[in-house]
Amino acid sequence: MNNMNMKNKVKNRKRVNLISLGSLILGVFFISWAMIHIQKETAPTVYTENTNLTSNNVIQQNAFKSNSFVPVETSYPISTPNHDDILYPIRPLEGDTIGNLTIPALKQIIPIIHGTDEDELEKGIGHFSQSVLPGENNNSVLSGHRDTVFAKLGELKLGNTLIVETSAGIFTYKISAIRIVHKEDLTIIVPTDHAVLTVITCYPFHFIGAAPDRYILTADLI
């Protein structure tokens, strides 16, 4: 009887050894894999000392200059825009590269892809397709991963510039507001009465697991 008990105890001990060792190995493997990807260089920077960041703003006939973020109601007046206001006669499709975002304060130039699915976010900054394109007179929304293209977004301050270059020209925006909202907030992506650039990423930047909040930068066209 004592021998049987001893044998069972040895078996159990071996099992526990295997499970605990297996868990440790798996855990280390996952952590390493994740860290490698997080640390990998993913924000392509083609930024040198000679990079020309002089903005040649496209003159928009109906551009408003405002430092405040003023969302408008959906009951906008009916107006037929002039053909001169058509900055993008051909609209992009999901997956198209529509331009670059230059962040002088971070010395980064990052491509902007139309669409915000994983396929697009893998390649760079995603442009939310249900928002206007950069430079157009409304709220243009960009989003990106916190551990890739927007890893340093938290270093930006009010007044920093964001320069977007597309087929329609070069548009310089100045950051006018920085907010942190819940990921299910529906008050960020709304129409505006002037050209605004809204930049979104996950927050907290180093939260382990699915981040519950979003970091929002709002910038006005200058």
């Binding site: 050894n17 499970i19 605990s20 060792l21 868990s23 440790l24 798996l26 855990g27 280390v28 996952f30 952590i31 390493s32 894999w33 994740a34 959906t74 906008y76 107006s79 037929t80 825009p81 002039n82 053909h83 058509i86 900055l87 993008y88 006669p89 051909i90 609209r91 499709l93 999901e94 198209d96 590269t97 976010l121 939310f128 397709s129 249900q130 928002s131 206007v132 394109l133 007179n137 409304n138 929304v141 989003s143 991963h145 916190r146 551990d147 890739t148 927007f150 087929s167 329609a168 299910e184 907030d185 008050t187 992506i189 709304v190 129409p191 505006t192 979104i200 382990i208 981040a211 979003r214």
Partner: protein
Amino acid sequence: MKVRYLKLTVLILVFTLLFSRFLMPVSAALSEINLGSASTFGLLANTMTTVGTSVYGDTGAITQTGIPFLTNGSNHINDSAYNTANSDLGNAIINANSQTPTIIGTPGADLGGLTLLPGVYSYPGAVNIGTDVTLSGNDVFIFQIEGTLDTVANTKISLTNGAQACNIYWVVKGATTLAANTSFEGNLMSESAAVTVGINTTINGRILSQNAVTFTNPGPSIITVPTCVQALPTPTVTPTVTVTPTTSALPTTVTPTATATSPAVTPTPTPTAVLSTATPLVTPTASAVVVAPTGTPTATPTATPTATPTATPRTMPVPTYPTGAPVDGKLIGESELVEIWLLPNGGIVIVAQLPDNTKETGVWSFDLGGVVYTIEGNRSVSYTVLKAPVGTYNISVKFTPQSGPVYSFEAVPVTVPTVTGGELPNTATPWYNMLLVGSVFTIMGVVMWRRKLRE
């Protein structure tokens, strides 16, 4: 013993499968219903009461109150043409009711919100159309309705994926009521009860009744006898994009791919309307420009109605326009014959019609900033794009008839605003989740190892 039972089981299984193949009813092939001489009639009734009614086709009745405005048709009152058509209608109803049903419905069924495929639908009672319904597929639809057929106001029957009104038959035993602002598709064949048509109703099809048909005062309503389009290519589900080379001087880095990912509600056939900016357009006073297929610009043709003069001279009733304007839409762009409406969900509705009394069947195409959608149709169309591009751009509309010159409408600039209350995109990568999982495994491993050491 076990092997013997196994062999027996296999034998029974094979036998059952073979035998059931013979027991299964052979499904009747769907065939078009031959309307005979009734096919030229847009409106046929025992007793007809019209007010503000326009018919593209013949009309006929034994007794008639009010005189419909006719285009390309004649009015037949209790003559041989009417009697022959009425007889042919009777045969067509018998033929339609004899088709073997492929779908058995329930009494009181509501077709609203459904997308129906071709087939023979049999309903042992009433049928309602409470909201918009879609008929999808280039084949025959037969609805055998034992009870009444009722639509709710502002209901629309949409045709997609090649479905044509000429191939749709609503065979109704009970009374039929088409409520106000109904957009009806197909041939309504009423056996023995009355048909009532509400105001502002458009029928792309026919109303053929062996009883009374009454149009509600003050109208108007329009009936257009459809033409089956045979020559168009087979519709495909994925719309193809025809990228129009821009004539603008703006440099472009945008390179649209050949396949649109646009989630349009109506899958389209391969577009036959190629939007070529190389074709010179002549712009006459009318807003619809006619472009000859060879590229030679022509003047706008004048559509000459060929209505038979009626006993009492009358002016043509003005059709309600737009026929497909959404109730909750906001007008964001218009030209003389085109209206663009914005829906609260970010979709847009394009409403267009051919000039004057032009009666054509062909393909409508809509170019939304380089993304092209097409649909088969006739003189008027109401087309919904669920996720329209957002921003400011031109919408160009063209109509390519089966034969004859292409109609090009003046481009309508629109501004579609950023959506309200959009969900924040999911910007999470799997790596932090993996970090979490790895941490959990590591902690588990450490805890179990320490417990083992203590033992």
